[in-house]
Amino acid sequence: MLGPETAERLLNAVVGIPGIRRLMVNGPNLPKTVPYGPARGKPNPNTNRKTISVGGTDVELRVQVGMVTLEVADESVIESIKSVCDEIFTQFPYQVQVGQYMKTQATLVDYAKYGPDADETIIGLTDPRRNDTPVFIQGQGMHR
């Protein structure tokens, strides 16, 4: 799993590739307060929970990055993602899997949040337990 600095480097390299529509960062949660036990509710200082800058936009990391899901325009983009990963993952291995890992239809949570006729580009990214919206990155070279 990646530290915030490596995650920032990876995401910045990846968002520079044209042809990426949506991007989701997954990993184990880094809670702001201790969730269980006698110290429950006390603050949880953690150097891995940081605000990083991706494509000029600030993104608050709430997880330790373990997996990045990307929606790409066509297959050729996957090759450029692989070459970017080859440059970044020199100390330890990585894996690229091709398949459909994102929702294409609005989920129940999307419906509750955006109603009918939700924008196709933001469905399937909703966390039902949070109120904040996905981050929009409009850096240079982005396909929008």
Binding site: M1, P28, P35, G37
Partner: protein, 254 residues
């Protein structure tokens, strides 16, 4: 003929390590030095140097009933003093960590007295009297049963611990109780339940891959010793599996 326990099957180094940890006659290799005060701090049950809080008066001050069992079983120091029952919990990585939950319980049951272990898939907790606990925890942390990066003391919030490692080789910890400092030494900055400590507690440098592979108690076909390479172990597990499956149909070994 006197019975000599065999502890476990297997010819591989993993099987040998398992037997060594379980065998109370085997002296576990001491790898690092941790002071008593540091152990007390990381456990977080009492302030270092303070008196042990008690759950009942010392046994010497109590009128004990006339009971043959009590004459037979000598109380441990903690029980004698009437200490509270407290715990230590370990979360172990699946990547060649030097001990694993089931293995810990086996080893502790053979080696320690007056304990109540609880075994789960990724963590193992052991409860006993506070005074005894500190002695046991010290042994578990100082010897070859501990690795600063792949084993950690976690009283609560152990989730996400075992299956993936961080890029610096540390186990993921949502509460970041221990950090790998720039000089390569792992330091505990919080006690086992996640309360920040007054000062850092150093537990030494993470062991290298070669040492881990030679001291691990887990089979791992990718990073360590593969289970299928230990024929004796496979045969034993298959036999147990077969007998358990046939149990109730009066199994007969051929």
């Amino acid at each position: 003929m006197a019975y000599t326990p065999q502890y476990g099957p297997g010819t591989s180094v993993v099987a040998e390590n398992r037997r060594n940890q379980m065998n109370p006659d085997y002296k576990l290799e001491k790898v690092r030095d941790i002071t008593d005060e540091d152990i007390v701090m990381v456990l977080g049950h009492r302030a270092p140097g303070s008196a042990y809080p008690t759950a009942h008066p010392p046994l010497a001050e109590q009128q004990e009933p006339d009971c043959p069992m009590r004459k037979l079983v000598k109380p441990t120091d903690g029980a004698k003093a009437g200490d509270r029952v407290r715990y230590v919990q370990f979360a172990d990585s699946m990547f060649n960590a030097p001990s694993q939950p089931y293995q810990r319980t086996y080893a502790e049951m053979y080696r320690f007295r007056a304990i109540d272990p609880g075994t789960l898939s990724g963590r193992q907790i052991v409860e006993c009297r506070e005074r005894d606990l500190e002695v046991y925890a010290k042994l578990l942390v100082e010897t070859e049963m501990f690795d600063p990066a792949l084993v950690s003391l976690r009283g609560a919030t152990v989730h996400g611990h075992s299956l993936r490692l961080s890029e610096n080789g540390m186990q993921f910890d949502a509460l970041q109780r221990c950090v790998l400092s720039d000089d390569g030494v792992v330091k505990y900055v919080k006690d086992q339940i996640g309360v920040p400590l007054d000062r850092e507690v150093a537990v030494g440098k993470p062991m290298d891959d070669e040492w881990l592979k030679a001291h691990s108690t887990i089979f791992h076909s990718l990073v360590g010793t593969a289970f299928r390479d230990d024929n004796e172990y496979v045969e034993y597990v298959q036999r147990i599996h077969s007998l358990r499956t046939k149990y109730g149909f009066m199994p007969k070994e051929e």
